[in-house]
Amino acid sequence: MLELDDIQYILLTRAPALTGRYVFLSFQNPEGGRAWLAGIHEKVHSVQAARASIEKDNRWVSVAFTWNGLQALGLDEASLATFPEEFKQGMVARAQMLGDTGDNHPDNWIGDLASPDLHAIVILFARNTAERERCQAEHQKLIDQCEGVKVLSSLDLDAIPPLEYSHDHFGYRDRLSQPVIEGSGEEPTPGSGAPLKAGEFILGYPDEKDQSANLPQPEILSRNGSFMAYRRLQEHVGKFRDFLRENGQTLEEQELIAAKLMGRWRSGAPLVLAPEKDDLTLGADPQRNNDFTYKKMDPHGYAVPLGSHIRRMNPRDTGENMNRRRMIRRGATYGAPLPTDAPEDGVDRGIAAFIICASLIRQFEFAQNVWANDRNFHELDNERDPIIGNQDGTLEFTIPKRPIRKKITGLPAFTSVRGGAYFFIPGLKALRYLASLGSKNIL
């Protein structure tokens, strides 16, 4: 049985929000940090609470900590030592393996996210801007009351018009394929696979290997928690559109190139099901838009190139042990959209995403290290993920086609990493436990 009243809502639910703000915090002393946590933990929705009032609520709050942050709150050494190595090290130390080199290097990150002083994140999603500002003012009041709590930076999130459907700055419809957790009460859409064991995403439950071993201690801290990789990815929209124009003579051809990079048309329609022409109704239909596989339906990648983003991030029936490699994606877009006909304006805009999983090294890091950045993935030889791989202008993108394949050389980087961190997102009881560290009456 999933303890839905203890799991933070964001693991299993998506708030119907159009705006948001991430606030990155540092605790200069444990007391201040704990006072802040004591002041905010009641605002954090559990899955159950969020579901009960999703229609009338206007804001949703999540709280998570880096390993340094847990230490800064005063968690004892013995307990700190039980966390997985990659989480202890943090995302900055893992940069080379994640592909965060060159322009993506932590030296180029902003908002102090590469700093060891990054201790916590508050994720606020709000129905509208007025609500966001109200919450922000209230949060600021709390911070002002807690000595030694410092805001390192914050980031405003805003959905991109048209608001009827979720999409990124490049124009791709998003939030179509997501794993479903057993016992969550959700039904997977056709093609999304059978529900997965909770332990793949939530600590304290059996995973796909029927294990729940090596959990951080004490149990009250890890139970119902999870790990979260934060990625702030700037999208170079002008460069992306120039690229489409350079590689496609007509608008139709340009749309096809965009679709080949992703594996889906910008409408969301999967190339496996609509290989030649976009299909807007298919893209918008959750009963059909994820209902495909690769091995039988498109083994050579004539529809979906082997190196396209979605085929890398979820090779479906062409990958090994896929149930051990799935990820829950959350997040939002930031920055003002670039008007359709405007040239690149240098404004920072992109995606600020969370990849949620029980094991960063097995799920997120594998995706980043192997699927996104292994140049030999699927025998491709000299390619990386065209959307999130480390691109330095020397790599290629192959579009298999009969009778002869098309190879795009010198693929530019359409995105740059502007920040990132590994967070532990505790259950609600664990938040209380952390808030009461150092005091005698635990709980």
Binding site: E85, K209, Q211, N321, R362, N369
Partner: protein, 188 residues
């Protein structure tokens, strides 16, 4: 990697001398330094002492693998292997097991898949008979990897007569050859 060795020229046999550490530049993978691709592709040589009295058990496991592969010829596909060689040898009164593999992926990248696979095919049990193998390997992939890394002896020379060619490429070429000769036959 030495600049002079080109990765894409299979017509030119190539040899590579490898530094003592097993790599040219320290590049971190998920579980530790990444060992380079050489003219003989990726690979490892794991050498470990066999637990007392377990030599016959180790030897018998060759049959387990033989049967597993006969039953499902593609059961080891995830390892992207060219070749495996298992050797038992003695030093004094002790028997050692050498597990040499040549394959096309950086082993570390796919370790979890390998560990998973081992539990299915029974290869694990070979490791279980080796000294120092972690008892909790099934639930502790990092410990499994640590054992492999600690017992890995990096090559200091590797040679390829057709360097850097992957098993998949070889299979593709053979398939093409077969198709081509069938076509030529039909044109006679």
């Amino acid at each position: 990697m030495p600049k002079k060795i080109k990765q894409n020229d299979w017509t030119k046999p190539a040899a590579m001398a490898i530094p003592k550490e097993g790599y040219f530049e320290l590049e971190q993978g998920r579980y530790g330094p990444v060992f380079p691709k050489t003219p003989a592709c990726y690979g490892f040589t794991i050498i470990a002492k066999v637990k007392p009295g377990k030599v016959d058990t180790v030897r018998a496991y060759s049959k387990t693998i033989e049967d597993a592969v006969a039953g499902d010829p593609h059961c080891l596909a995830v390892l992207k292997l060219h070749y495996l060689r298992w050797v038992l040898f003695d030093i004094g009164k002790e028997t050692y097991f050498m597990y040499q593999g040549i394959f096309d992926t950086d082993f570390d990248k796919y370790t979890e898949d390998a560990v998973e696979l081992f539990s299915i095919t029974g290869i694990t049990t070979v490791f279980v008979n080796l000294e120092g193998f972690p008892e909790d390997w099934k639930t502790n992939t990092p410990a499994f990897v640590k054992f492999v890394r600690e017992h890995q002896r990096p090559s200091f020379l590797e040679y390829g007569e057709y360097p850097f060619v992957s098993a998949d490429e070889i299979k593709k070429a053979l398939k093409l050859k077969a198709a081509f000769s069938a076509m030529l036959d039909q044109m006679q």
